[in-house]
């Protein structure tokens, strides 16, 4: 090895060591763990136990169903909203642009516990502002935390609020990379603004939107904070229990690390498969 390479690896060594111990090793170890019966001492190799249980566990299917519902509804809604916000933020008519950009990005930097607490208050059955507003337009109060479909809707609203602005900023950067003269050419081609958006802006944003979709899919697969804090640990009665929460309960409440590892690998596998499917569906035509 050349001297300069040796020196470089020397400098990298502390990081690589930490990376290996706290990233690589847990990934390998949990894979191994998923084939172990971790409910006996010492742990015993039993490949069928966790993986077999996974495919027949109604609680797993419940968490999978909840996660998929959130994913299928929340991701498209949020990405659509983010695209609209990005277009508005990019408008030359917009005044105080910097303030708006910050405002839409701000939810990401707000502490999770604080934002969860505020959402719990806003959606409170008796004195939350949302029910008060609904009452004003003649809709009776909704029990957001006691009925599963409403709790699910609440989660979707909260996650969308938190991440739409973040995605909008990413999409905005994509919008700004589209050269102005392409639109001028289209204007001279007699193409209306709306058609320019559909036939020029959206196709040219495709890679950026796909990137946001994949990020959001991964985020949704791991969704934990909101069901834990806002709907009180996946309540009511597991109605908003997601895969992330299910993993946490198996691993850190029941201390069944083998089963939790199998769940983790399933989540990662699903995220990869769905993301690849998306990339394939959204690929550029040849």
């Amino acid at each position: 090895m050349q001297l300069r390479n040796r020196a470089a690896y020397g400098f990298l060594a502390p990081y690589l060591l930490i990376f290996a111990i706290f990233w690589i090793w847990p990934i390998i170890s949990s894979f191994w763990m998923s084939f172990q019966n971790t409910r006996v001492n010492p742990w015993a190799f039993n490949p069928g136990m966790n993986w077999g249980r996974l495919f027949s566990d109604p609680a797993f299917y419940n968490a999978l169903k909840n996660t998929m519902i959130i994913l299928v509804i929340q991701v498209p809604v949020m990405i659509t909203l983010a695209t609209v916000i990005a277009v508005l933020l990019n408008s030359p008519l917009l005044k105080a642009r910097g303030i708006f950009r910050f405002a839409f990005f701000a939810p990401v930097v707000v502490g999770e516990v604080a934002y969860a607490a505020v959402f719990r208050l806003m959606f409170n059955l008796d004195f939350g502002i949302i029910n008060k507003l609904l009452n004003k337009i003649g809709i009776p109060s909704i029990s957001w935390f006691a009925e599963a479909p409403f709790a699910m809707a609440l989660l979707i609203i909260a996650v969308t609020w938190r991440w739409a602005g973040y995605n909008a900023i990413i999409i905005l950067s994509g919008l700004q990379s589209i050269p102005e003269d392409v639109y001028e050419a289209a204007t001279l081609d007699r193409v209306s603004k709306f058609k320019q958006f559909i036939y020029i802006t959206l196709p040219l944003l495709r890679p950026v939107i796909l990137f946001c979709v994949v990020l959001s899919i991964i985020g949704s697969m791991q969704l934990f904070t909101e069901p834990f804090l806002i709907t009180n640990r996946g309540g009511p009665g597991g109605g908003t229990e997601t895969l992330g929460l299910f993993l946490y309960r198996q691993g850190f409440a029941s201390l069944n690390f083998g089963y939790a590892s199998a769940i983790a690998y399933t989540m990662a596998g699903l995220a990869i498969v769905i993301s690849l499917l998306n990339l394939w569906l959204g690929r550029e035509p040849k």
Binding site: E184, A185, L188, Y199
Partner: protein, 362 residues
């Protein structure tokens, strides 16, 4: 096809006026070139004709109608952009047909027009490619094709060749000239390259600082520049300027001493010019108007700094150190080399004379 007219057109950005009372008539089928240095307002003027910039004052007429408030798409113009502005996600065929398809033009007619353009520009084999799979020259052809397909009354070109390499530029220049002949359309072409202007134009409009300095046929501008700016801008290599002072005035002739060339005197006939003795003037003489010593009205002894030999002709760059560079173009300079001293003659009949504000005296 149509004629076009600008009447006292003004453009302001806030309080800053960048086009001052521009007036111009373009005849049907004419090829007009806007030329001038960077920032002279030539592209802005073109974009105002296209409708991509608003007009702060004056009128623009296309085909006899005032189009000040007409939408860009309804002005009957098509524009070729410097950056080509092709739709990157569409094939060449889709790029050509996009505008027609979006406006519900009959399918058959769209196909016919695209095929015709592909024939004219010889891009048939490129129709299924995307812009990123094309070379610069091919992209430029597609961009021109997209303009032709609209069958506009007026074509606008915004520095269309400036992103191409030198060889391709010459090739595309010829191509554009051929197109103009073939289509017979009115074309307005913006460039900062005076060679493009000279070779393509029926009429050149020279702009400086938002003012039209002169309008005329290429050779008119060359032979008869209105002022020192136009004289220096048109022609390559550019006209030589030598400062001088009037030392004698007698009726219709004056004698000028060339201050930076050893006060060599030259006597010039003038009309309508009554100078003071000592008045500063500038002499202009084109590089090809130098002769062998003794064959003109005044002999200059110059120090050669660099000699460039191009084969068919040679350029001698002289007197750079005195701050007043002289460029001489002549075949017989083949044997001159650096640091030679050379005596050349100039003739009064070839000399342009400008006053100290740049206005032409003769």
């Amino acid at each position: 096809m149509a004629e076009l007219a600008l009447k006292n057109v003004v453009k302001r950005f806030g309080n800053y006026e960048i086009i001052h009372n521009a007036s111009l008539d373009v005849a049907d089928g004419e090829f007009v070139v806007f030329v001038g240095p960077s920032g002279c307002g030539k592209s802005t003027l073109l974009r105002m004709i296209a409708g991509l910039e608003t007009i702060s004052g004056g009128e623009i007429h296309i085909g006899g109608t005032i189009v000040n408030d007409v939408e860009p798409a309804d002005r009957g113009i098509a524009m070729v952009f410097q950056s080509y502005a092709l739709y990157p996600h569409m094939t060449v065929e889709e790029n050509l047909a996009f505008g027609l398809r979006m406006t519900g033009n009959p399918k058959k007619d769209t196909e016919r027009r695209v095929q015709r353009v592909a024939d004219i520009l010889q891009i048939k084999e490129l129709l299924n490619r995307r812009p990123r799979q094309l070379s610069g020259g091919q992209r430029q052809r597609v961009a021109i094709g997209r303009a032709i397909v609209r069958e506009p009354q007026v074509f606008l070109f915004d520095e269309p060749l400036s992103n191409l390499d030198a060889e391709l530029r010459v090739q595309m220049r010829v191509e554009i000239a051929r197109l103009h002949k073939e289509l017979g359309a009115t074309m307005i072409y913006v460039t900062h390259d005076q060679t493009e202007a000279m070779t393509l134009a029926d009429k050149i409009v020279v702009l400086r600082g938002g003012n039209i300095e002169q309008i005329g046929a290429p050779l008119d501008l060359y032979d008869n520049p209105a002022n020192q700016f136009v004289a220096g801008f048109v022609g390559s290599p550019k006209m030589n300027f030598m400062s001088g002072a009037v030392i004698e005035a007698q009726g219709q002739t004056i004698t000028v001493a060339l201050s930076n060339q050893g006060n060599v005197p030259i006597t010039l006939p003038v009309e309508n010019f009554e100078p003071r003795i000592g008045e500063k003037v500038t002499l202009g003489i084109r590089p090809e108007h130098f002769f062998k010593a003794g064959q003109g009205d005044a002999d200059l002894t110059i120090k050669v700094d660099v000699a460039e030999h191009l084969g068919n002709t040679s350029y001698v760059y002289a007197n750079v150190s005195s701050g007043e560079q002289i460029i001489i173009e002549r075949e017989e300079s083949r044997n001159e080399s650096n640091r030679d001293t050379l005596t050349v003659a100039i003739r009064a009949s070839n000399v342009f004379l400008f006053d100290n504000t740049g206005n032409r005296i003769r």
